[in-house]
Symmetry: C2
Subunit: 269 residues, 2 copies
């Protein structure tokens, strides 16, 4: 496979939220070049049907494979939950989704084996976390809840304060009704880490005990390191950003990536 040229890690997401995964990968594998594709013209995937999510995801992956990436990271939980088998079948390089690493981290964090998962409508409907966790531990108990307001809250930047607190409380009290005994909460969407403080506080307050918070970005970065085996020793690899629609990228990217986006390219899939 290797011809001596440096090949990048490809990361795609329905929008800009996947930049939280890029941030984790750059921290774990600083020397790697990364190509990021955000399908911002068709964001969000989370409210779309499995068939549509699969179709769009395949187009995103095709774009990255055409640029000769050596590994594909599906930063979008919705795409991971609905399109992983199709994406794996269509790729000659390894493909890592968000769900498997997130499920493993959740099991590592949960002493009681009682786990709550929050995500988009499509992620929760897919029951992908339930399936992935049950495959590793059939005795684990998983409940899931779709939280459609959390993505726009994170994008609006209202990540702390009374509105974020009330919304977190409303969703998590519903989740705790489904299982009052969870000890671990999986943030099953790349946007949710921005709301982690309010979610952790609301969960602990409603449950009357601390709840471990797991997000899949760090777990995905570890899985990428394991899959690659070796990594360039450069201090800082290059980051190329492609989007299908430029709207709001400059404004939103710093919140998710932790730095400003200097350059990006608009592409049509």
């Amino acid at each position: 496979m290797s011809d001596g040229r440096r090949r990048a890690i490809g990361v795609f997401d329905s929008g800009v939220g996947g930049l939280t995964v890029v941030r984790a990968v750059r921290s774990a594998l600083p020397g790697e070049d990364i190509l990021y594709l955000g399908d911002t013209a068709r964001v969000p995937y989370g409210s779309k049907s499995p068939r549509t999510v699969e179709r769009y995801s395949l187009a995103c992956q095709r774009f990255l494979l055409d640029r000769d990436v050596k590994l594909v990271l599906i930063a979008c939980n919705t795409a991971s939950a609905n399109a992983l088998p199709a994406l794996v079948a269509a790729s000659q390089v390894p493909v890592i989704g968000a769900v498997e690493p997130g499920a493993a981290s959740a099991l590592a964090a949960s002493a009681r084996r009682r786990i709550g998962v929050i995500g988009t409508l499509a992620t929760i409907r897919s029951r992908a976390y339930e399936t992935a966790i049950a495959a590793r531990d059939p005795d684990a108990h998983v409940v899931g809840l779709a939280c459609p307001l959390l993505v726009p809250l994170a994008e609006e930047g209202w990540t702390h304060g009374p509105i974020a607190g009330l919304v977190a409380r409303r969703y998590l009290s519903e989740l705790l009704t489904l299982d009052p005994d969870i000890d671990t909460l999986v943030l099953g969407c790349t946007h949710y880490p921005l709301l982690a403080d309010e979610l952790a506080e609301a969960a602990a307050e409603l449950a009357g005990r601390p709840i471990a918070i797991v997000d899949s970005a760090t777990a995905m970065a570890q899985a990428a390191r394991a899959a690659l085996g070796e990594s360039p020793s450069e201090p800082r690899g290059e980051l190329g950003i492609f989007v299908t629609d430029a709207s709001r990228l400059e404004e939103l990217a710093p919140r998710f990536l932790g730095e400003r986006v200097k350059r990006h390219e608009l592409v049509d899939l």
Copy 2:
């Protein structure tokens, strides 16, 4: 143009929100057949760039024109604000957007000629309401604010209560900072009428006086009646619903249309 066959009114929107316009048209013109297209696979348009909104809108209109509609209603404020000239140029039948009728209603309601407009990011950025109102009354003063959380709030069904109230207050206090003297508020998005109670209450409370609430659905229905001149005398026309992705239509449609959707067809644009 007329060959004796009954031709329908075509209505399109980025999603299901435009069913509030269908509801108003069915009330004003009960005998008319209506074809509705919701581009639910690519919803929302409100966060997308003008170029992308125009491209998607033209595809929606093409779909309706191919079905020989006699009139096109752009139920989506974002599409009206960004794509009306292109849509008019591409159509042989009359095209009515949401902005012009909404602007006329706002001027009719505003004694002070001071108007606030809330809508999606793309609608507000387009300054379409400012332009349409200024064309009718150069002395009128218009301020606009994008309110990205209102669409998911309406879709979640959280249209009343503390969260809706806090979000309405947060946005409207920002709008009133831009102009403390507005006496009229235009709901520049098809989703917002579901939140009209909370918005009216918050606006009145923050301004210390009643604020007139204008929504464009009723105004569009009146414009459609004027454009058609005559209308079938049947007690109840037929309604055909097409969507580009079926996700959540059954759940959301009754809130917007006021009745259950018995049948719909999935199409690819």
